[in-house]
């Protein structure tokens, strides 16, 4: 039989009230007593029954997903998974809300974050580029007693328990390897496209990409990253210029998540010759492009997994538990038309 709090109280030689104080980190317990309880926990192998705990706590968990106000297709996919998860986890007393922030105005974004109260949220998963304002806001949030994790794009701290998303260096390296292998002995230049190189994600992907390409495939030359800044027209112009300036373009690596426009433009511009194209994130349009052979491979991070993992991580933090690392690791997925 699993030991209960009652058994623990007996084993530690204290009352249930004290056990409660220690387990839930309430104040008014001498360190000596805390140690005694912890010793007893270890000795009898006590493990809190989470099922009973959540029932008694009677308040489930309320988590918020902070996402940019304006977004691309990938964001839509994420949002879809959040609400799907919300539906499915109601029976387990977990509520999930979406909070929008203005990504282009860090000041306003920080203000929105500062308004999130511990009365309304037990934890926050945030998807936003790192800025000093956001970082501070998150810091204050934790001081207010709200747990936080960053999703998709990391917020500085390399703590694995605080970030849910892929290793972007590895993702870039994977793209690089695939690009080179798909090209075989074809030589030429490779276009690299990003929304902005301000974002850590793109920097890391580029780093990984070059790290594979430069030393191993001297016959391939990756051109400096072109930035679209999220404007569709600009994407067209930038691509057109690049194709005009280089007549040996054999590959296109789209690092940002808004790949649709770039794929279409490249399709038109490349003429008759083959162009290996690799993009990130599975969305309706990239998926379609993959099926149509307009895209050769897709590097993906499972958005459903990210949402679930973020919630599990937040919950574990609330309950002062560790997560099962192998379950929370987000894989760098390679998608072809065959394994969609």
């Amino acid at each position: 039989m699993r030991p209960t709090t009652k058994d623990l109280a007996k084993a530690a030689g204290v009352s249930l009230a004290t056990i409660d104080r220690v387990l839930n980190g309430r104040s008014g317990v001498r360190q000596k007593t805390i140690d005694a309880v912890n010793e007893a926990i270890a000795r009898i192998g006590f493990e809190r029954n989470q099922v009973a705990a959540t029932l008694a706590r009677q308040k489930g968990y309320r988590f918020g997903f902070v996402v940019p106000r304006s977004g691309d297709e990938f964001l839509d996919v994420i949002l879809k998974h959040i609400s799907e998860f919300d539906q499915a986890s109601r029976a387990e007393m977990i509520q999930t809300k979406i909070v929008r922030i203005d990504e282009h105005d860090p000041h306003r974004a920080a203000k929105t974050l500062s308004r999130l109260s511990a009365d309304d949220y037990d934890g926050i998963a945030i998807m936003a580029p790192e800025t000093p304002q956001i970082r501070d806001a998150l810091h204050r949030m934790r001081e207010r007693g709200i747990e936080t994790v960053a999703i998709i794009s990391n917020q500085q701290e390399e703590d694995s328990q605080s970030f849910v998303g892929i290793d972007n260096v590895a993702a870039g390296a994977t793209a690089g390897r695939l690009m080179a292998r798909f090209l075989g002995n074809v030589s030429g230049s490779i276009l690299v496209l990003a929304e902005t190189m301000q974002a850590r994600d793109s920097l890391e992907r580029r780093l990984g990409f070059d790290r594979v390409l430069t030393p191993n495939y001297p016959h391939l030359h990756a051109l400096p990253t072109l930035e679209t800044h999220g404007y569709q027209e600009r994407t067209g112009v930038v691509l057109k210029n690049a194709f005009a300036a280089h007549d040996d373009i054999v590959g296109l690596y789209i690092m940002g998540s808004e790949a649709r426009v770039a794929i279409d433009f490249a399709q038109q511009l490349r003429g008759g010759s083959k162009l290996i194209t690799i993009a990130h994130e599975r969305t309706p349009s990239t998926e379609q492009a993959l099926r149509d052979n307009r895209l050769d491979a897709l590097i993906n991070q499972d958005p459903g997994h990210i949402v679930r993992s973020a919630v599990r991580t937040l919950r574990a933090k609330c309950e002062n538990r560790e997560t099962l690392a192998s379950q929370e690791r987000i894989r760098v997925e390679i998608l072809l038309a065959e394994n969609l």
Copy 2:
């Protein structure tokens, strides 16, 4: 506020005892009353609080993983994940045991299965090739009130709620596409290796492989499947003969999960020329081969995911729930050295 059984009783105009009888499928309730309760459930949107239910039931879940007695490296990986999961889910009142069966003796295997009682197990996840004996044993097991799912290799029924594992046709197709793309414009023959073509998995993988290769890449010729029957010596002999008979071998597709021996042999036999090698299942040795460039790609199904998914599926069946399909789908993963 979520409606409780009390609210439901009021809404249905019956007592709590009757609600209990209906919800838990006890006898002694007129159909008319059952209908009335179900109507009320739909009307007020009642959803049983699983947290409270498991607490009250006070018996968690006991699941069994039925696996072959003798196995390869992949089985070891699976077992590792089962015990890891068992550790992690104790706090949620889920117990996981491992049951070994003699895969080569279907009769004995079926006998072992028939001894599993509903008193000891709420559900069974089975990993075994399909045979008539096993199929019958599973059928009787369900009649005894034990829920079942097949993992890794399917047991006939194409019911998605009864199988946890990859789509092997898609896996084979993915391997085929990668093989062809990595080979580029190189032409020649491709060796295909399996433990046995009796198993459904291998058949399906081969089917998918050919389905991509034959119509799209006429310069590549996939040879008839070679069978090793699990014997290491035989693997060597078979490969040697194949290399002797064909001097244009450019690719090797290892469909079985015991890839280690085949990779090593092929390495020695191929001489100086390049040989694209693709295998299945991530294990310590295939992983090492990938890092060493002795393997070009690995097709994988996440064993941790399979274990967790099997348990979630069994639990959902016990509670008469549906699972979240997107979460339970096992992906055909492509692994390169970069995204391990």
